[in-house]
Subunit: 69 residues, 6 copies
Amino acid sequence: MRLSARNMLKGKVKAVTHGVVESEVVLELSPGVEIVSTITKGSAEHLGLKVGDTAWAVIKASNVILATE
Amino acid sequence: MRLSARNMLKGKVKAVTHGVVESEVVLELSPGVEIVSTITKGSAEHLGLKVGDTAWAVIKASNVILATE
Amino acid sequence: MRLSARNMLKGKVKAVTHGVVESEVVLELSPGVEIVSTITKGSAEHLGLKVGDTAWAVIKASNVILATE
Amino acid sequence: MRLSARNMLKGKVKAVTHGVVESEVVLELSPGVEIVSTITKGSAEHLGLKVGDTAWAVIKASNVILATE
Amino acid sequence: MRLSARNMLKGKVKAVTHGVVESEVVLELSPGVEIVSTITKGSAEHLGLKVGDTAWAVIKASNVILATE
Amino acid sequence: MRLSARNMLKGKVKAVTHGVVESEVVLELSPGVEIVSTITKGSAEHLGLKVGDTAWAVIKASNVILATE
């Protein structure tokens, strides 16, 4: 499957925290560089995400804010 | 200023393309790893973004979709 | 590839309009039921979207607002 | 009230799950075609959503990612 | 119509700029306090937005990032 | 730090509610005008948000839907 989302960053699952409706997943993109995602708990269970799994962070370009000093 | 957005990825501006209302900015996070952002043209001009500038990609955790194989 | 986005709605591409940076794509989900997406022009070209193609609308649950009468 | 969001998909509430802060609502758009929304628990209570209610999924075009095979 | 979006901020249209696919609309919420929205050009035309019109900025709680000093 | 997000609305923290993964924060922008944000609990704790604190609501223009009567 190909996606229109321009950003697909590959990483390793570092942590998964489940709430009642939402779950928080931390991916390590490279040593010291992490990305955090909140997805529905249903999604986290559907994907069966576990620490050490390979996963991609998929981010639409319109959801990326830029900051400068 | 501190932000609630959990994801702040540092990179170098690699390309800036202006439309009428929107602009597309490509940041290089590390060799071969890029992130694309679309922001309003007004923002791009306000930040004065140029190739080679340091900038951060700011992404809310709720805007990160996860994909697995 | 499996996605954490809970919503993947299958449809046929009905129209593609290109801007300078953004493109607008209309999918027909079922007779009379359409969904509109704006993606970067780069994405539309990368996917090579044409009228009649099969495509899925991928929507994160946190991006769905609900309305009632 | 008229909205700028281009996507308003009509459906029936099929399930409502409350968390502490967030609630998950499943709408059936047509037989076998569902859409999932996560909204704040305050919103779900404010709208008084119950199974069987008619509701619309309101989605901004810029929040629709496209996928192709 | 009632919306699950928790934020509905009332204002006056102060400016409308049309691109090819996207339009930028500036609302004045109160003297000196503005909010900017980018919507599809189709939406702006569908709503017939003109300077001086009353309009509401509708923002999902999950799309609000917080910043502190 | 300067942000590409066009909307930075200054307010006072009026309420903070923590869930397991998410927290809800209410800012008062001006008397009777509030804005609600849901952020990850980790973010709320990282920012140390308390009632009475000054904070800004940061909103990307592409996340603002418009409504008219």
